[in-house]
């Protein structure tokens, strides 16, 4: 930036510029931040953004902020931060560079600001071009009645030959075939008794001693017999509770008898 340009710009700000600044202030809510204001101010220079006088721009902006203060208009912090930065930039541009000092030169900072403004202007321009494109649902259309993809939920049941055969074996050999369980040789569980009795109870139309429900091979050994009897008795009670059977005992220590009971849903 040349000396005379600087002088020419730094002193007096034209009336029209002051008016422009006031117009900006009145409308400050309409701006999208300080960069937007700067871009608007830059446009008043009516030159290519690459050739704008950043110093001049900084001054215009500072006038705008001063004016706002005079009019007691509260500016958002962003605007004030930008003002401070531009004041710093202005001093950097006006003072000869200090070789001892590190950091960017005023020219670097000014160039970056010019770049930012140009970039913002470019983004605004392409945004407008983008919105001017043909748009889906406005200028061109998708299928009105998409037939879509029908989602068919198919349930596939898995069963293999082994399942089938084991199921059959389970039915046909209920007394002997058992799935692998922990063997407790001399314990007959209530579940086992229940499983055994369930299919049988349907045929017990007459009162039958529950001891006749003891599984084969469990009636000789006393220990096994005790376990099986207890399990069968418990299972009999369970069947009664479920409403599948009736149980009776004529007197203390008399045989306990069981009979099928027809249920409504049977």
């Amino acid at each position: 930036m040349s000396e005379d340009q600087v002088n020419q710009n730094s002193d007096q700000i034209s009336v029209s510029e002051r008016l422009a600044a006031e117009a900006l202030i009145v409308d400050v809510d309409g701006f999208e931040g300080p960069l937007d204001i700067l871009l608007t101010l830059a446009r008043t220079q009516k030159v290519d953004l690459l050739k704008i006088s950043v110093l001049h721009l900084a001054e215009q902006y500072l006038v705008f902020v001063e004016k706002a203060k005079e009019l007691r208009i509260e500016l958002a912090a962003d605007y004030l931060v930008m003002a401070a930065w531009l004041a710093f930039l202005k001093s950097r541009l006006l003072l000869p560079p200090d070789p001892a000092e590190d950091g960017p030169t005023g020219e670097d900072l000014a160039a970056h600001l010019a770049f930012q403004l140009e970039r913002l202007a470019a983004m605004r321009d392409v945004a407008a071009r983008l919105m001017a494109r043909d748009q889906l649902g406005r200028d061109f259309f998708a299928r009105g009645v998409p037939e879509g993809v029908e989602r068919v939920r198919r349930i596939e049941y898995s069963a293999n030959l082994l399942d089938l055969m084991q199921a059959y074996a389970r039915i046909r050999t209920r007394d002997e075939f058992r799935p692998f369980v922990m063997d407790r040789d001399n314990v007959f569980t209530m579940e086992q008794a229940l499983e055994r009795m369930r299919p049988m109870i349907g045929f017990a139309g007459q009162w039958t001693d529950i001891l006749s429900y003891l599984p084969q091979g469990w009636d000789m050994d006393p220990g096994r017999r005790r376990s099986a009897t207890a399990a069968t008795f418990a299972a009999a009670l369970e069947l009664v509770k479920e409403g599948h059977a009736e149980v009776r005992q004529s007197e203390t220590f008399a045989p306990i008898q069981l009979r099928h009971r027809k249920r409504a849903d049977d």
Partner: protein, 220 residues
């Protein structure tokens, strides 16, 4: 200006027929509802012949993947019926067949043709309608001949789809209990104290001879 043109003396010529056809195409494509010819005419420039353009379009879509079809008084573009399967996305959900279902199926396979009462007798519990329906729906069982006994109950048999699924040539190939045991498919350790007594030969018999024989005997 066009608005002022009278019907009898249009100021501008209507678009060419090919152009009108394009218009009808776009209208039918984008519309959420089937469109009447009157509606098309209303949307097209003055002087257009929507009906003629529609006829051209219909012919153009003849044999294509989509067709121009009439829906009541209106027209729409729809997928050709033979391609409907492309628009289905199947999600397969695997489920384990319930114990009741697999047992019922097994009994039918080993004893077919078998009545519901017989299945219940063998399983010792009643067979729910849902179980049978499911197996029928899966096309693993179907109705067989009616049994020539009082009440003429229906019987169930397994289907070719069943054989296919389980990799069997015929239901006769289903192994008997002995074979299952020999193959180690069953826990052949008899419950304690039962040793040799059980695994009764007759049972095997029943199921091999009575069972299979009467089932597959063609003579019923």
């Amino acid at each position: 200006m066009t608005e002022e043109a009278t019907e009898t003396e249009p100021l501008f010529d209507a678009p060419e027929m090919a152009e009108q056809e394009r218009m009808v195409e776009a209208i039918l494509f984008a519309s959420a509802e089937p469109v009447t010819v009157a509606d098309m005419t209303a949307r097209m420039p003055h002087g257009c012949d929507a009906a003629a353009a529609l006829a051209l379009l219909r012919a153009r879509y003849e044999g294509r993947g989509v067709r121009v079809v009439q829906v009541g008084e209106s027209w729409a573009i729809r997928t050709a019926p033979d391609l409907g399967h492309l628009l289905q996305k199947e999600t397969v959900e695997m489920r384990k067949l319930s114990r009741a279902a697999i047992e019922t199926l097994a009994i039918i396979a080993y004893h077919q043709p078998v009545t519901r009462a017989e299945i219940e007798e063998i399983r010792g519990v009643s067979v729910s309608r849902g179980t049978v329906d499911l197996l029928i729906e899966m096309e693993w069982i179907r109705f067989g001949r009616r049994r020539m006994t009082p009440g003429r109950p229906v019987t169930f048999v397994v289907t070719p789809a069943f054989l296919d699924h389980f990799g069997l040539e015929t239901a006769r190939d289903l192994p008997g209990l002995k074979e299952l045991r020999a193959a180690g498919l069953l826990d052949n350790r008899p419950p304690p104290g039962l040793s040799e007594l059980d695994a009764p030969e007759e049972e095997e018999e029943v199921f091999d001879d009575e069972g299979q024989e009467d089932m597959f005997g063609d003579g019923e």
